[in-house]
């Protein structure tokens, strides 16, 4: 707009009167622009929040929050930007680069280290009273604490457990869900004989690596060895890869593993085509709505030969940006969001796990067999390691795992190669 104004002026400068008119017009335009620029800056008392879209209920929930909070705090206005998970990191990257980020944002806790290192996240300890800190369950707050400072609050928490289809189990003559991977393999064979897919494996897009870690953890390998190098070159990692590959080759999984993302496998489970799969608690809500007649159970993740097992714990954090101009108001909003009542509403809407101690005592969580199974797994939960470059290592692992599933690489050589690449990232 500004450029246009100037160029029009330049091309007509042979006519004095015309020029004056244009100059005035340009000045007016400039004034208008500067007013716009002012308006774009945060008004006093406006708190902007970037919110990840967990489901179609996320937007309406935050609309409610806006109404309630603004009524209780006159003078403060809230502005929520609901962004799909897929593009959230990209939006934040662009916003931060341009300096137009919101005051608060939900982020994946695994990204937090980057935000802290780049010095864009505000430590929250000075705002937190002991009483406030006491509201949280330790396990879920600790991933957001770095170098002794709390940089984020766990707005969402989740873990993974194994779902199994009770009808298919009955048809195949299986009494109980498998406790070990060997049993899972046998059960998968029986389910295959009964005409369904035994064990659903996710092989595409986000969390492809995690689906492989379930096996790896059971064989006693961690993502990072004790010395801080990648665990992918250890025997446990190889065992897990061979196990999954042999199940794919034997036809115990759904076909086309590398074309199925998490939602695709979940869809197959909801259609009753898959006997077992590992995924998040929110599938219970989805089954309630989309396939209410499906008979299913939730069990622990199978154990390895030594009895080791691990589930994947995930938290998302809400952080405050260092360049926020309304930190006091933003904190008030956080205090409001983490009240027991608000937490319960959000968590139950989205089918997540409670992060708040008082909330966890509610009947909703203790009386539900499925949710209880998830909560029981929490002591064995592994969180994504808090290291810079984690996303790159996850990508390297996903790529390696896909190659193995497709048979494009020998498991041992492929994993060694991936471990070397991951170690290269870790050294930086």
């Amino acid at each position: 707009m500004l450029l246009l104004g100037i160029s029009v002026t330049m091309s007509r400068n042979d006519n004095g009167r015309e020029f004056m008119k244009l100059a005035r017009w340009t000045a007016g335009l400039l004034a208008g622009l500067s007013m716009l620029a002012v308006a774009a800056q945060a008004d006093a008392g406006e708190v902007r929040v970037t919110v990840a879209e967990y489901s179609s209920k996320t937007g309406p929930y935050f609309e409610e929050v806006k109404k309630e909070f603004e009524a209780a705090n006159p003078g403060t206005t809230l502005k929520f930007e609901v962004v799909p998970w897929d593009v959230l990191l990209q939006k934040l990257t662009t916003d931060i680069t341009a300096g137009t980020n919101a005051d608060l944002s939900i982020i994946g806790t695994r990204w937090l280290i980057d935000f802290v290192q780049q010095d864009v996240a505000e430590p929250l300890d000075s705002y937190m009273t002991p009483d406030f800190k006491g509201r949280f369950i330790e396990t879920f707050l600790s991933p957001s604490i770095m170098e002794g400072k709390t940089y984020g609050l766990p707005i969402a928490a989740s873990a993974r457990a194994m779902y199994y289809n009770k009808e298919l189990f009955e048809k195949a003559g299986i009494a109980n869900p498998p406790g070990t991977w060997t049993e899972l393999q046998e059960d998968a064979r029986k389910i295959k004989a009964a005409g369904a897919f035994g064990y659903g494996i996710q092989g595409k897009e986000i969390e492809t690596d995690v689906y492989y870690y379930y096996g790896m953890w059971s064989f006693g390998t961690e993502i990072l060895n004790k010395d801080g190098t990648s665990g992918l070159s250890t025997p446990g990692a190889l065992e897990a890869a061979k196990l999954y590959k042999s199940m794919i080759d034997e036809g115990l999984t759904q076909p086309g593993v590398t074309s199925m993302n998490r939602e695709d496998v979940m869809a197959l489970f909801k259609q009753g085509k898959v006997g077992m799969m590992i995924t998040a608690p929110f599938m219970m809500n989805q089954i309630k709505e989309e396939a209410p007649s499906l008979k299913y159970g939730v069990a622990a993740i199978p154990a390895g030969p030594t009895g080791a097992r691990g589930t994947y714990g995930v938290t998302d954090s809400i952080i405050m940006f260092k360049n926020s101009k309304n930190k006091e108001e933003a904190w008030k909003l956080l205090d409001f969001l983490f009240s027991t009542e608000q937490r319960a509403k959000f968590t139950q809407n989205e089918g997540l796990l409670p992060v708040n101690k008082e909330e966890a005592k509610m009947d909703y969580y203790t009386k539900d067999a499925g949710l209880a199974a998830f909560t029981a797994l929490l002591p064995e939960a592994r969180f994504a390691p808090v290291i810079p470059g984690w996303e790159e290592i996850a990508q390297i692992t996903s790529d390696a795992v896909q190659k193995i599933y497709l048979g494009q690489g020998e498991p041992e050589a492929t994993l060694k190669d991936a471990a070397a690449k991951a170690n290269g990232v870790l050294k930086k």
Binding site: L3, L4, S7, V8, M10, S11, L89, Q90, T93, I96, T97, D114, Q118, V120, G203, K204, E205, Q254, P255, G256, V257, T258, S259, M260, D264, A267, L268, Q271, K273, G389, E391, E392, Q395, S398, D399, A400, Q402, K403, Y405, L406, Q408
Partner: protein, 289 residues
């Protein structure tokens, strides 16, 4: 004197605007690609061509580079071959021609991303429409996992690429065909020229400038086309369907290597620039000859 300066003066505003729109981002990309950059775009040390060297060492980048060439050539060539007969049919007079034109051009109005999403559903191995259609016709007796490996996924992506490129190409050709005067054909027919001879000696030569335009524009669009491959496979499994744009997106926004990603986009810019210059040169020389 005044007269000679006037044209330049008149194009100056748009030239200035174009320069700002084009050169500023390129300058910015050069800055980012020659520096050590944080995930949020803060420039740190100047590191020269290290980002470009890292790309040259990256087998995934080299594979994506070749695949981009294959992708661009097959989609553009396929769309061209398909569009000429389609345009000629739509140019001839028949009952319901306007309806047929609308049907051919309609896919153009649908967002590319939406088209890709629909195809992703259609190609789903277990519940996809394509598999059930092929089953129903008795052509296959087992579901094909279209997107599970590059061997089936990439050819399908090329086909879809062709499909969505056809409407635009047909539009260009329709414009070209309507500029060919009918009396040429009438004269040729009187001389006893067959339909094929008419096509080869009248239609094709007169359509040539339009074909040239279609090639250059489609090359640029297809080379930079992101949605089809991203929506269907995200360049996977294991980077086996990546083209440069999808690879660039992953580098920048998944892994957070903005420096290398900027280097990729400069490489893409250079390739397109060189291609366009060579092609325009060739096309011009032909016309002069």
């Amino acid at each position: 004197m005044h007269n000679r300066a006037l044209p330049y003066l008149l194009i100056l505003p748009s030239l200035f605007l174009a320069a700002v729109v084009i050169f500023w981002p390129v300058y910015d990309l050069v800055q980012i690609s020659t520096h050590d950059v944080s995930r949020f775009g803060q420039l740190r040390d100047f590191i020269g061509l290290a980002n470009f060297a890292a790309l040259a060492d990256d087998p995934d980048f080299m594979a994506a580079l070749w695949r981009t060439g294959l992708w661009t050539l097959s989609v553009v060539a396929g769309a061209l071959v398909l569009s000429i007969p389609v345009a000629m049919i739509l140019n001839s007079d028949f009952y319901g021609r306007s309806v047929a034109r609308v049907i051919i051009l309609l896919p153009w109005a649908v967002s590319l991303t939406m088209t890709a999403v629909v195809w992703r559903w259609a190609l789903n191995g277990e519940s996809g429409m394509l598999n059930s259609a092929l089953m129903g016709l008795g052509l296959i007796d087992q579901n094909i996992q279209w997107l599970a490996s590059a061997g089936t996924a990439f050819p399908m992506q090329v086909l879809i690429g062709i499909l969505v490129t056809v409407p635009f190409t047909v539009t260009i050709f329709l414009g070209g065909l309507s500029s060919i005067p009918d009396d040429l054909y009438e004269a040729a027919a009187l001389e006893g020229a067959s339909a094929w001879q008419q096509f080869r000696t009248i239609t094709l030569p007169l359509l040539k400038p339009f074909i040239n335009i279609a090639i250059v524009l489609n090359m640029i669009y297809v080379f930079n086309s992101f949605p089809i491959i991203w929506v269907m496979t995200q360049g996977g499994p294991a980077n086996s369907t990546d083209i440069l744009v999808t690879y660039l997106y992953k580098l920048a926004f998944r892994v957070g290597k903005l420096g290398e990603a900027s280097a990729v986009s400069l490489v893409m810019f250079a390739i397109l620039l060189i291609f366009t210059m060579i092609y325009v040169r060739l096309a011009m020389r032909e016309r002069e000859a």
